[in-house]
Amino acid sequence: MPPLLMQIHVAGRKGKSLRLWVPLFLLWVLLLPFAVVLLPALFIVCAVADIDPFLAVSTMMSLIASLSGTHIEVDTPDAFLFFHIL
């Protein structure tokens, strides 16, 4: 299952702060038509590069699906960055 939400928090030490909850499920819905349009191009590229297109698609899907749980947190004296995929 692809990740559904992404949480971003960027904060500067001078008080500026940005908190974002990115609904990734909406992003997937928006990207789906593009994916369908780009699919033939992907098949052509795979044929040229001698790659199994079905393997390529399944690998990309598994890569996206396995993003859930990724967590990156950077805390410097100047700024704080928090990035979490749910």
Binding site: A65, G69, T70, E73
Partner: protein, 145 residues
């Protein structure tokens, strides 16, 4: 007669090993405890790690209050697996070029050897992975959880 003991005797008969070596092998077999059903039932299986965690703490000399820079990264194991599968999609020519570049840098590593079945074995071993680097200006800790 156990299968291992029979193999040792056959190797001795075939002249592949000496009598001394056969004796040592049989002695080693006798020392090896037989796995009992009770023992396998009582020892719980270790949970497989789900994440690779990287913690970095670096002292920042330019900071006015001396606060260190901290980095905390958690990468799902599934992402590593998917990444390796992605590596399998690299065209053979590109893989060979990457291997050559690695060799030029002194890294004798063959990317063709990275396969999903190898990765599973690697992930199994990662269970006990723990790397601690402790220097004056930085601390790095890598482990699986």
């Amino acid at each position: 007669m156990s299968e291992n003991r029979r193999q040792i005797l056959e190797m001795l008969a075939a002249g592949k090993i000496t009598a001394d070596e056969a004796e040592r092998l049989i002695a080693a077999l006798e020392r090896e405890p037989a796995p009992s059903a009770a023992a396998t039932e009582t020892v719980p299986a270790k949970p497989r790690p789900k994440y690779v965690r990287v913690l970095v703490e670096a002292l920042n000399h330019h900071s006015p209050n001396g606060n260190p820079t901290k980095v905390n990264i958690r990468v799902p194991m599934q992402l590593l697996r998917a990444g390796v599968r992605l590596g399998a999609l690299i065209p053979p020519q590109a893989r060979e070029r990457a291997n050559q570049a690695l060799r030029e840098k002194g890294v004798n590593f063959d990317l063709n050897q990275i396969k999903p079945e190898n990765l599973e074995a690697l992930v199994e071993q990662l269970n006990d992975l723990s790397i601690d680097v402790d220097e004056d200006h930085a601390k790095v800790r890598i482990f699986c959880e």
